[in-house]
């Protein structure tokens, strides 16, 4: 299944499927992007990051793709498991002044059915 991020905040998949969560960012000057996972009642948990000099980065079961031309970021989760059910946020680091300020998207809720 595929989500268009802010316009489709819920993604439902079957256990074992691959999931793709999309995110559009707004600032072409942003050079650092992070995906976080947030479970109910918990703080966001770092999943994977990517800097603007790369277009792909892989972790364990997760891949982040960055398309700077269209300012688009995606998170791919392979063989999705029930424990992956959570809200996923992309964050871009902007630098309006001297410091990098993380700006979070609204998030996508991933529901994994056993």
């Amino acid at each position: 299944g595929e989500s268009v991020g802010l316009h489709l905040p819920t993604l439902s998949v079957q256990e074992g499927d691959n999931s793709i969560i999309n995110c559009a960012y707004s600032n072409s000057a942003s050079d650092y992007f992070i995906w976080y996972k947030q479970e109910s009642g918990k703080g966001p948990q770092f999943i994977i990051d990517i800097r603007s000099n790369m277009d792909k980065r892989q972790g364990q079961r997760v891949t982040v793709l960055l398309n700077k031309t269209v300012k688009h970021l995606s998170l791919q989760i392979a063989a999705t498991q029930p424990g992956d059910s959570a809200v996923y946020f992309c964050a871009e680091n902007r630098r309006p002044g001297g410091s990098y300020i993380p700006t979070f998207g609204r998030g996508t809720s991933l529901i994994v059915h056993p």
């Binding site: 703080g43 966001p44 680091n93 002044g97 001297g98 990098y100 300020i101 609204r106 998030g107």
Partner: protein, 114 residues
């Protein structure tokens, strides 16, 4: 090792009261951030410290909000004369060095203003 610790986990206050929220970052982490998270939204940046220096407070919504980190470790977010719109989860995060790195979040303080 211990993660970011926030206290209290829940705080209920009457409108007009002052509240203080505490954050214990990961030991040795130089950078500390405060965020406000409304229900169904992503975290919104409030302020950022590097050691004891408050480098950015552009996200604080009003002069009723005040944050400090006097010894470069524990931080306190204080809200004076609370209002109902202050009800939210307040998240603290720390990173090893600088704001352009993954952040480690606490589980937040859920503040309810009656």
């Amino acid at each position: 090792g211990a993660g970011v610790s926030q206290s209290p986990r829940y705080k209920v206050a009457k409108r007009g009261q002052d509240v203080a929220l505490r954050c214990d970052p990961i030991s040795g982490h130089v950078s500390l951030f405060w965020y406000q998270q409304a229900l169904g939204q992503g975290p919104e940046f409030l302020t950022y410290f590097q050691n004891e220096a408050q480098l950015d407070k552009s996200g604080l919504p009003s002069d009723r909000f005040f944050a400090e980190r006097p010894e470069g470790s524990v931080s306190t977010l204080k809200i004076q004369r609370t209002q109902q719109e202050d009800s939210a989860v307040y998240l603290c995060a720390s990173s090893l060095e600088g704001s352009n790195q993954p952040q480690h979040f606490g589980d937040g303080t859920r503040l309810s203003i009656l």
